[in-house]
């Protein structure tokens, strides 16, 4: 999968490295901004109240 990504990105090696780093940063920002808060509220609700 990563080999395919590497081959698909155009340019010389140094350009590909920069592009991969930027893409990784974008993916991580999207995770932290949207995915993780959704997961924290939906998948692991921390309940500290009593009730049904």
């Amino acid at each position: 999968m990563y080999a395919l990504l590497w081959r698909t990105i155009p340019g010389p090696v140094w350009a590909r490295i920069i592009i991969v780093v930027v893409l990784a940063a974008l993916v991580m920002a999207a995770l932290v901004e949207w995915v993780f808060p959704w997961a924290a509220e939906t998948l692991l609700p921390q309940e500290s109240t009593v009730g049904g």
């Binding site: 921390q46 109240t49 009593v50």
Partner: protein, 162 residues
């Protein structure tokens, strides 16, 4: 937000707001508030049970040290009327369905209230929501706002800028 909780045992700078309701997204998970009041229970100082809930881990963890309380420890609830001083009595561990701890007489819903108690609820074990830890405190004293904060916490409330 109608009040503030000051507990010297939790730290010299422990001052946390209390808001009405125990809604997760607006109160308990809200870093600006953190402590929620069960709206079906009584208000601070009233005959009956003043019950509040907060996280033990995550979202600022207002009750992270709830198990460190010792008998006689003071818990102060500040409202617009003044300061209510509660004395800690003991801990109890219940299931998440243990709503009887919110009754006017905790764990005795059939009784009429004759005392003024405060109940704190949080999750137990610390990183799990499998059970609940309950802390009980009894009203010991009260200081009207005109007299200023009780001396024991005057420095704490001053430092927090209230």
């Amino acid at each position: 937000m109608f009040g503030t909780l000051v507990v010297p045992r939790f730290g010299d700078d422990y001052v946390r707001p209390i808001a009405g309701g125990v809604d997760l997204s607006t109160v308990l998970n809200n870093r600006q508030i953190g402590i929620g009041h069960y709206s079906e229970t009584q208000m601070p100082g009233a005959l009956g049970n003043f019950a509040i809930a907060a996280h033990r881990t995550t979202h600022g963890a207002p009750f992270s040290q709830i198990a460190e309380l010792r008998i006689g420890d003071r818990l102060y609830v500040e409202t617009s009327d003044g300061w209510y001083e509660y004395a800690f009595r003991g801990l109890e561990y219940v299931w998440p369905t243990g709503v009887d701890v919110l009754a006017p007489v905790p764990q005795a819903p059939q009784l009429e209230a004759t005392d003024r108690v405060m109940t704190l609820t949080s999750c137990n074990p610390r990183f799990s929501a499998a059970e609940r830890i309950i802390a009980y405190a009894v009203l010991d004293n009260w200081y009207p706002r005109a007299d200023g904060p009780p001396s024991a916490i005057a420095s704490i409330t001053q430092a927090s800028g209230r």
